[in-house]
């Protein structure tokens, strides 16, 4: 099951966040900061699945934006990895060459996507 879906940039600013399980609002910022710290500390040739607390993070980097999805043990990690890419491709089609600015400014549209 997917726990959350985040798009965070390299400076740690959240561009999009969608939680599928209830998380307190102050915990959310902490969670996001920790997650992005984990992802930033990985080098390019390390694998995209990180084990974090009791679930896994699947992340993918697109220029300066990280798309991170938190999943639990029942999900197929590679399928989620593909899902991230598919999602980004959809955004690309919608905004024709999406960039981080598009994501920041059209939050509501992306949510409904």
């Amino acid at each position: 099951m997917i726990k959350f879906f985040l798009m965070v940039n390299k400076q740690g600013q959240t561009r999009l966040s969608r939680y599928y399980e209830h998380v307190e609002i102050n915990k959310r910022t902490m969670l996001e900061a920790e997650v992005i710290k984990n992802c930033l500390s990985r080098s390019k040739d390390q694998c995209s699945f990180i084990e974090y607390k009791d679930f896994k993070l699947v992340y993918r980097q697109y220029a300066a934006l990280f798309v991170v999805v938190g999943i639990d043990q029942t999900e197929n990690e590679m399928a989620v990895y593909e899902l991230i890419h598919n999602f980004v491709e959809v955004l690309d089609k919608y905004f024709s060459r999406v960039s981080e600015l598009d994501v920041s400014f059209s939050v509501s549209e992306i949510h409904l996507s």
Binding site: H22, I25, Q46, C47, A79, V107, S108
Partner: protein, 820 residues
């Protein structure tokens, strides 16, 4: 009041903020504006305000005052309003807020709206955050929508149904009829969501699972999957050359659930799985994702062996791939399958061991776990070398796990005692501070067991701590050994290695420096002090020095040390005649199985006097009478047997209490029996110590039997059955001795087959006087829930005529009334 700014303006303004404080200021100003605008009940700009609020919420600022506004937006007729309203509801509201119930009516109306998009919005929101009350109310509507002809709506309704089922599992029945036609879809979106719905139903309820198996869901799924693979290029579903991989993965997962533990379904799937496995392209990640799911499915269902081999080969190929993700995934699945298909995985052992050297943390962890699973008798030396090298170089978070893993593996497969001890020493020296606390007593027990290695061990340990005594577990083990075998060390007799010349003073120097050093934990100091004390009997010329050291610590601040020192002092002064007997060598401990807290408790007639210990044992389970303090020893002229301790109370302190070490002594199980037999004890053993259970209603005379009669030792069993609990049999054994010399240190141990449970209470004594002048009685309780024939294997050890005797026997002549 001027029109509130648009969302884009807000975002632009916030982006210009340079510091966190500036940003906060802007946001607060905007929040104030929004709040006043809400108060004015301004309809036109409400949606803009809520949109801004949502953005601020995402950044992490509180936005709860917007919840009611969301509701108002939902109720409005404009689509844009509704859209933002529902989005706000999804993000800001959840079941914890009371406000959400007000939405129910709105959603109900919208579910019947003429525009499909509005209906879609309502379904989405319900599926996202509907509480159980809402779901109950609206499930009927959802079910109706599941049957409409509009595929857009059907797709959303299916997902909503998934959420409803998660919240209110009882409603699953309601959706059952609608599922009949779900798989006959052309639209992939609907197909996908229906598969999700079916998966959820099957996972939640085994009845549903059985129903679906009967309704021959599997052939339908197989057909769909086949179409997907066989069909050519379809632009709308294509992802890098494979059509709709997401649907494929979902179907595979559903097949996995259907095929688990079910032969018929598994058989129906075999072909398609083989086809998918061979036809999928592996050059892109997509193909690999599908293959991964296929492998997982093959492993889970009852597939034929050819298919399993295929799956493991795929995993092997993954391991050789350069892409880290794939290797990680391969290692994870191999870990799952290593239990069942051990041999097949062994073939890839070298690759796995190479992964230990990988840079990536996740991969290293997986490779380490997998390597431990793969160690067996043949490859233990090679694997151990690799693992020790890994231990040297790995990150600290791994060291503890790695060290325990190495201990376990070494224990199971050690080719020789010396190798075992060497390995453990290597672990202690490299990762000493990360070793788990229970490793120390285990190691000590291991050392005492290998009698011939004592000299070698103590010499190596001594050399190890000569240089550096900061690693606590190493120092603890070393000081214990030096205390025990100091005389061997000094006499310089070691066959395995070059003996080193050590004088008693040097040994005492080292122990004293451990005592003084700031790096030593208090537990370690305790070990060192006791070791020094023990050496007073082993060493000959330095007794005075030892006395001095001990008396110094009589006034130490550390209470533990002080207590020990005072007792030892007393031992020197007043009870000097007892000293040699008390500080004798520890007897050989028998092996305790290391697999967790198996309750192996046997009552032993231990005659080894308990080491002075006045502090009550740490765990409350041990009865107070176990603490044999000095007074007891002096009071009773016989040496009373040590009462068995509850094995689950592994000491919380790091094995520092000597009594606990002795406590371990008493936990001798005897896995001497064939693997079919098992010694199992319920943990409430100690109740039996004080009182016999109420076996008032004795079944009429079950004949007693002679279980063993050899070499003058005769053991009789008498039986009692309880009417209150017919599966319990109480056996009272009586051991008598017809020779002309006493039998001392008598220990009776018993083992029963797995279906039984055995409880041994403490014996009356450990000496059987000669000429049948007295007997030892002991009570055994046998729990026989399956009413199987009672069988027992017994092991007897005793000292007779100055030599130690040991015997094994099987008792098969139990009368039928004792177990029927």
């Amino acid at each position: 009041m001027p029109a509130p700014i648009r969302l884009r303006e807000l975002i632009r303004t916030i982006r210009t903020a340079r510091t966190q404080a500036e940003e906060r200021e802007m946001i607060q100003k905007e929040c104030a504006a929004i709040r006043s605008s809400f108060r004015e009940e301004d309809n036109t700009y409400r949606c803009r305000n809520v949109a801004k609020l949502l953005y601020m919420h995402m950044l992490g600022y509180p936005a709860h005052f917007g919840q009611l506004e969301c509701l108002k937006l939902i109720a409005s007729q404009k689509f844009t309003d509704k859209r933002i309203g529902y989005l706000g509801a999804m993000l800001l509201l959840d079941e914890r807020q009371d406000v959400h119930l007000l939405m129910t009516n709105c959603i109900k109306n919208d579910l019947n709206h003429s525009t499909q998009y509005v209906q879609g919005l309502a379904l989405c929101t319900l599926g996202c955050m509907g509480s159980s009350e809402m779901c109950r109310d609206l499930a009927g509507e959802v079910e109706k929508l599941l049957k409409t002809s509009n595929s857009y709506l059907r797709k959303k309704a299916a997902l909503c149904a998934v959420h409803v089922i998660r919240k209110v599992p009882e409603l699953m029945e309601m959706f059952l009829p609608a599922t009949k036609n779900l798989l006959n879809e052309k639209n992939h979106g609907v197909l996908h969501t229906s598969v999700v719905l079916l998966t959820e139903m099957c996972e939640r309820s085994p009845d549903m699972l059985a129903h679906f198996r009967k309704v021959s869901l599997v052939p339908q799924l197989v057909r769909i999957l086949k179409n997907l693979i066989m069909s050519g290029y379809s632009p709308e579903h294509d992802v890098s050359g494979i059509s709709d991989p997401f649907l494929q993965v979902r179907i595979l997962r559903l097949l996995r659930i259907l095929g688990r533990n079910d032969d018929d379904s598994s058989e129906a799937m075999n072909d398609i799985l083989a086809q998918v496995a061979t036809n999928t392209e592996t050059s892109k990640n997509v193909g690999n994702a599908i293959l991964y799911e296929t492998v997982l499915t093959i492993m889970d269902i009852k597939s034929e062996s050819g298919l399993r081999v295929l799956a493991i080969n795929i995993l092997g190929r993954f391991l050789l791939n350069n892409d880290k993700n794939i290797r990680y995934v391969a290692l994870t699945s191999l870990l799952k399958t290593v239990q069942t298909d051990h041999n097949a995985v062994q073939r890839h052992r070298s690759t796995i061991v190479d992964c230990l050297k990988d840079l990536d943390v996740s991969i290293k962890r997986r490779a380490m776990e997998l390597s431990f699973a793969l160690v067996n008798g043949n490859n233990v030396r090679g694997m151990m070398k690799e693992l020790l090298y890994f231990l040297d170089s790995c990150e600290p978070e791994f060291k503890a796990d790695c060290a325990s893993g190495i201990f376990l593996a070494a224990e199971k497969y050690a080719p020789s005692k010396r190798w075992h001890i060497d390995t453990i020493m290597r672990v202690l020296t490299t990762a000493g501070s990360y070793v788990r606390d229970d490793a120390v007593p285990n190691l000590i027990q291991l050392i005492t067991n290998s009698v011939e290695m004592h000299a070698y061990t103590v010499q190596r340990l001594y050399k190890a701590i000569l240089g550096d005594y900061s690693q606590q577990p190493l120092v603890q083990v070393a000081s214990w050994c030096i205390g025990e075998y100091g005389d061997l060390l000094v006499s310089g007799q070691c066959e395995e290695e070059e003996p080193i010349q050590v004088t008693e003073d040097e040994v005492l120097d080292i122990l004293e420096s451990i005592l003084i050093s700031n790096m030593s934990a208090s537990v370690t100091r305790g070990y060192a002090l006791t070791a020094i004390m023990k050496l007073s009997t082993r060493f000959t010329c330095t007794v005075n020095r030892i006395k001095k050291v001990v008396s110094i610590y009589g006034s130490s601040i550390d209470v533990e040390l002080q207590q020990r020192a005072v007792e030892y002092n007393a031992l020197f002064k007043k009870y000097d005649h007892m000293r040699p007997a008390l500080l004798e060598r520890m007897p050989v401990m028998e092996k305790v199985t290391t697999n967790g807290p198996t309750e192996i408790v046997q009552a032993n007639g231990e005659t080894e006097p308990a080491v002075l210990e006045t502090k009550p044992p740490p765990s409350g389970l041990q009865p107070a009478s176990q603490a044999n303090d000095l007074l007891d020893l002096l009071g009773g002229s016989d040496i009373t047997p040590v009462i068995p301790t509850a094995p689950t109370s592994k000491p919380a302190s790091a094995g520092g209490e000597l009594l606990d070490l002795l406590g371990d002594l008493n936990l001798t199980g005897s896995p001497v029996c064939a693997p079919a037999f098992q010694i199992a004890q319920p943990p409430f053993l100690l109740d039996g110590l004080t009182s016999q259970p109420l076996f008032n209603d004795v079944a009429a005379g079950i004949p007693s039997i002679t279980a063993y009669n050899k070499n003058g030792l005769k053991i009789d069993f008498t039986f009692e059955r309880s009417n209150t609990n017919p599966s319990v049999t109480v056996i009272t054994i009586q051991a008598s001795n017809s020779t002309e010399l006493d039998m001392t240190d008598f220990v009776f141990q018993a083992a029963v087959p797995k279906t039984f449970q055995l409880q041994l209470l403490s014996p009356s004594s450990s000496v059987i006087p000669a000429f049948n002048s007295g007997t030892i009685t002991q009570v055994i309780k046998v729990l026989n829930p399956q009413k199987q024939q009672l069988r027992m294997r017994i092991k007897l050890t005793y000292n007779h005529k100055g030599s130690a005797m040991q015997d094994l026997a099987e008792v098969n002549n139990f009368p039928p009334q004792s177990w029927q």
